[in-house]
């Protein structure tokens, strides 16, 4: 019996291998090639050259700016060597060079720009780079559908654990993933190991590189281990989703005498006495720098007809090693994606979708309760292009994400800004009602904050992102805050905070039916934001009455051309908007207006778009003095894909 089983197993393994191997084909018919050229024009009436409005906030680069035109070419190749194996490759030119730079060849011989073609470096050389690659193997097992090896945007998990990476990084995360199903397909699972991107995945936006306490950062064994399970119980209509992520940022144990940079290369302490148990053995031990565990449980079901329930609970834990991780809060002016302490906290979200209750047609209620702990830490959440809460939030256009690792960078002025919702505790009611040609979307949100606290240590433990007061103006955003743009969207911790916020909004869309289909959208939002700050005095109390309005007209001219235009008017009345106890707090009255227009043109595989806006901002500032900002800017793009 034993011999027989072994033989059968061996036969299966060998025949599977031979079968797959023999099936492989190399044939042009197995190739699927596509290409795309993308061109972007940026304009602003200032003196900044470049083709990305907001570039790298930390490392100096030479491609961000407001005036320029550049193109990129992308080449996607998909291969199918057999029905069991597929492969994907994306080759793309480096975006950063302007049309005016054509002569640049990537050399970087001169410290200042000149006409040699060798002064701007590779970011202006338009070189082709292997940006993504992946292989999928589909073994013929009932329980294992797919093995994915290579690039991924990690979209199979949720943003409370390992969020989808942003679009421009979609191939930059790499790993190995096993996907399959059990219980006759009712339980879908994904198990993955993900190479932690050393550029951003960790404290100090790195997995050790650049950390001042590390002489020899060791980042090629840093991985995240993720499990996703989705079980559907048909009898109850219950969808249960579990996501787990454990990340481990290893560093070299410098107490190991074998390690490069060892503290004890001779196994002697600093008084030259032998260290017990210390002996070189040719192997180098590792120790953790930063570990994180994230888990979420999501339940989706319909207890009664027309009521959808979505319950989510999650925990987040981080463990730091002070020997291998420097204090980014204390050493980096409070700009850090994690607090400098061990943390354990939880988050909960409950959503209720009520569709046409009691027979009320075209009426849709959405109710959401959210409670995110003050010590919730997730460096691996989606960094942008996702949204975990229903509310429009403080910043219209982006969304709310449960992380301090938000990336409002490598983007243009008309891309959405995202804000952190760590510590938010409250609820949102959305009412969506369609009446004839009108659609109304009403929002009411109330938020208190788990981060409300007195005497919080923002010097050495909790990051406050340096600029943490006043409403955030994303239209005049800059990293260094030279434009006095208000709080950093990641600034959720204050030394003294006692904050409460109310957000009310109404968006009305009217499909007029006039001309070729004119649609008019009116939007108004009012935020009442209060913060008692230091409770021992009322002289620093903040009150913000923030009004936002927009009127937008959209008109499809024909099948190829859509146009839109409109305007905004905002008024922010902020008492004690910013300051400090020593110098006092300054009242701000801000009026902001915008006129915009744009169009898109689709024709024969080419898509052209344009958006231009004139923005005016007038600030009455009690201490700093009044100021007016007046700019025009535009962005246009052309995409041709085949």
């Amino acid at each position: 019996m034993k011999t027989s089983s072994v033989r059968v197993a061996t036969l299966v393994l060998v025949s599977s291998t031979l079968f797959w191997g023999l099936e492989a084909r190399a044939d042009i018919r197995n190739w699927d090639i596509s290409g795309q050229i993308y061109t972007k024009w940026l304009y602003r009436n200032n003196d900044q050259m470049g083709i990305v409005n907001y570039g790298n906030p930390f490392w100096p680069e030479n491609f961000s700016g407001d005036n320029g035109v550049g193109s990129e070419f992308e080449w996607n190749i998909r291969g199918t060597p057999s029905r069991f194996v597929t492969a994907y490759v994306r080759v793309k030119s480096r975006f950063g060079s302007t049309w005016h730079d054509f002569w640049e060849n990537g050399d970087f011989w001169y410290p200042q720009e000149n006409t040699s073609g060798q002064s701007l470096g590779m970011d202006h050389a338009e070189y082709m780079k292997l940006r993504g690659y992946a292989m999928d193997i589909h073994p013929p097992y009932a329980w294992l559908d797919n093995i994915h090896i290579g690039s991924t945007d990690v979209g199979f998990f949720n943003t409370w654990t390992f969020g989808r990476v942003r679009y421009i990084d979609r191939d930059n995360t790499k790993g190995v993933f096993f996907q399959g199903s059990l219980l006759d397909g009712d339980l879908r699972w994904t198990l993955g190991i993900i190479a932690l991107p050393r550029l951003w995945a960790g404290p100090g936006w790195s997995t050790g590189v650049g950390d001042v306490v590390l002489n020899n950062p060791f980042h090629t064994m840093d991985y995240g281990y993720a499990l996703h399970m989705d079980h559907y119980l048909d009898a109850l209509g219950l969808d249960t989703i579990v996501d787990l992520l454990f990340t481990n940022d290893f560093e070299i144990d410098v107490a190991d005498p074998d390690a490069d940079g060892s503290l004890y290369p001779n196994c002697l302490d600093e008084l030259d006495n032998a260290i017990p148990g210390c002996e070189p053995d040719g192997a180098v031990d590792l120790e953790g720098r930063y570990r994180q565990f994230l888990g979420s449980l999501q339940l989706r079901f319909e207890p009664v007809r027309d009521l959808g329930v979505d319950l989510l609970g999650a925990i987040a834990m981080q463990r730091i090693n002070e020997l291998t991780m420097s204090n980014g809060v204390a050493l980096n002016a409070g700009v850090s994606p994690v607090p400098y302490k061990d943390t354990l906290d939880w988050a909960a979200r409950a959503r209720f979708d009520i569709v046409e209750p009691f027979g009320a047609r075209n009426l849709h209620f959405q109710l959401e309760y959210f409670n995110i702990g003050e010590d919730w830490v997730n460096t691996f959440s989606a960094r942008r292009e996702d949204d975990v809460l229903l509310t429009d939030g403080f910043i219209t256009g982006g969304g709310q994400l449960p992380t301090l690792n938000i990336a409002n960078e490598f983007m243009d002025f008309n891309d959405g800004f995202y804000e952190s919702c760590i510590g938010w505790h409250g609820g949102t009611l959305l009412i969506d009602y369609i009446l004839g040609n009108f659609q109304f979307l009403l929002e009411q949100t109330a938020i208190t904050y788990n981060t409300n606290m007195q005497d919080r240590d923002t010097d050495a433990v909790y990051p406050n992102f340096l600029h943490h007061q006043g409403y955030t103006d994303t239209w005049f955003f800059d990293y260094a805050n030279t434009l006095d743009r208000g709080r950093d969207p990641r600034a959720v911790y204050q030394e003294n905070q006692d904050r409460f916020s109310l957000i009310s909004g109404l968006r009305t869309t009217w499909d007029t039916g006039w001309l070729t289909g004119l649609e008019i959208e009116a939007f108004a939002k009012f935020i009442r934001d209060t913060d008692g700050r230091d409770l021992s005095t009322d002289r620093d109390d903040y009150t913000g009455n923030l009004l936002f309005t927009q009127l937008k007209f959209s008109l499809p001219i024909n099948n190829e051309i859509d146009i839109n235009f409109g305007g905004n008017f905002d008024r922010w009345d902020e008492e004690n908007r910013s300051g400090n106890p020593a110098e006092g707090y300054s009242d701000y009255m801000t009026l902001r207006g915008r006129a915009f227009a744009g169009f898109t043109f689709n024709f024969g595989g080419a898509t052209f778009g344009y958006h231009g806006e004139w923005v005016l901002k007038d600030q009455e500032r009690e201490i700093q003095g009044d100021r007016t900002l007046d700019i025009f800017r535009s962005k246009a793009y052309l995409t041709v894909a085949w």
Binding site: M1, K2, S5, V6, A9, V176, F178, I193, A195, N215, N216, M221, Y223, Y225, N248, F250, D253, V254, A255, D256, P257, D258, A259, D260, G261, S262, L263, Y264, P265, N266, D269, E270, L271, N273, I275, P276, G277, C278, P280, D281, A283, D285, L286, E287, L323
Partner: protein
Amino acid sequence: MKASASHRFKLLLLVIMLLALAGLVAASCHYEGPFVNMITDEEHFRPPSAPPTFVYGQFVAEGAYGVGGAEVTFYSGDGGRVDALTTQALEDGTWEVEVPGLQSYTNLLVYAAKGGVALLGIVPEIPRAAQVYDPPQQIDLSVDAPAMHPIDEVATAITLLIEGRLRQLGRGLNTLSPGAVRNAMEDIEPELGEGDFLVFFEMVTALLDEAAAQPTSMVPVFLPPSQIAAAGSALNPLFLTTYSVDYTGDSTPDTSVDAFEEALGQAMMTFNFDVCYHPRLIRVVFQVDFREGELDGNCEVLDRLRWLDGIDPGDQMFIVGGVHEEMIRCDIDPDYEYCATQEEIDLTNQALGTWSPNRIQMFDDGTNGDAVGGDGIYSRAFDLPRGMRIGYKFTYGPAASQWTGTEEWPGNQRLLEFIDVNGDGMVVRHDNFGDETTNKDKANLLAPLRGGRGNVLWDCGESTVCCGSDESPTGVPGCVDANRDGYLDFREVPIDTDRNCEADAWPSPGPVTPLTVECEE
């Protein structure tokens, strides 16, 4: 029953296959890293830092000579001020100073001045901590050196006598063992009441009396030890010219320190210090200059990075070496004066890392024999067998890393014999990092015009400088004194301190003192 056993076997087989598959998957996906580390992790222990040493003393607080509340400063045996130890005396004259456990001092001079009064004492010994687990050392000067408690006119007179006598002998306090200084204190103290000692002591008290009469003076009667050598006396000549002082008792103001120095010399004329060096070991100080722009033996600017992989954060300076293969062992030639026993060979090899690179750290932080922290000159002192011949070189890189990219040059070595050439009781070898023109044994780059022959030898037979293969005992041509400066290249040699390419001074041992032992009765 049979079916059940079969079922269990199948289950076991399936589990084994799944584990095997999981193992393959793990090996191919870097899953194994954390597991292997978990199994092999030795959880290396990080011992604590060396405990500090606390030193307590007291200046006289009562009476006219009280210096309570004054700044207390310390000076090494060669007169250099040790800023890190500066402290403040309390009103009762007591002072306390915390010394890093890594640091050791011998024969520190302690000084405090208030108004015109200035008092001096000696702290014979602050040993480095022995074990990192020990409690902090407590050194109470009243116990360690009773003659220095409190530091008053008596302690000051004793200190001035010891310092002055050594100065007259052309030596510093750093050349004496702590025991020799303690013995000197004990010998001098009872003598202060009679003869020439009494004459000197009365001068000291007369000077202090006058100083005490000037409570607001900015001119102390005795100079800080760092100024004594230059002034030629501890007595402050400015004090004598500022105030009309008759310290000789002849009713005439004395405006010169001569009488003071003469009385000191008279009292100490026949006084001898006990100085006994270790009979077998000698203190060897290695110094390597890593500053940019230093000159090599050819008087050319040295390319210190020639063989290095650059300079990175966290890189450190190391020395590495071992007993030279031509060292004469006692079991082969027991009659050779400096023959090496196996124990001595082991001691030397262990101290120098037995040619394992990047393990024996040099220091540029003011500890472990380094004079000035952060000056680019790294130092380290060892106590090693006299006459031992070693090969060594310096490396610069991460601790425990390998040779390539960290060593001064690939292959070859520097030669050094532990013989005290200048009579200071120590061997002080000062090298420039990457200098291939001095004591590098092979492929030595000292230019032929400067005498270079490519090799540095231990022995050239009859020749005192260079020899050909026919003269060399080993048949290898080379030099023992290639640059013909009169000093063998493989021993401590004078160095060029003024960048004129001529050796002009012996390298300073910094805070390092000779290895002395208590003299036998």
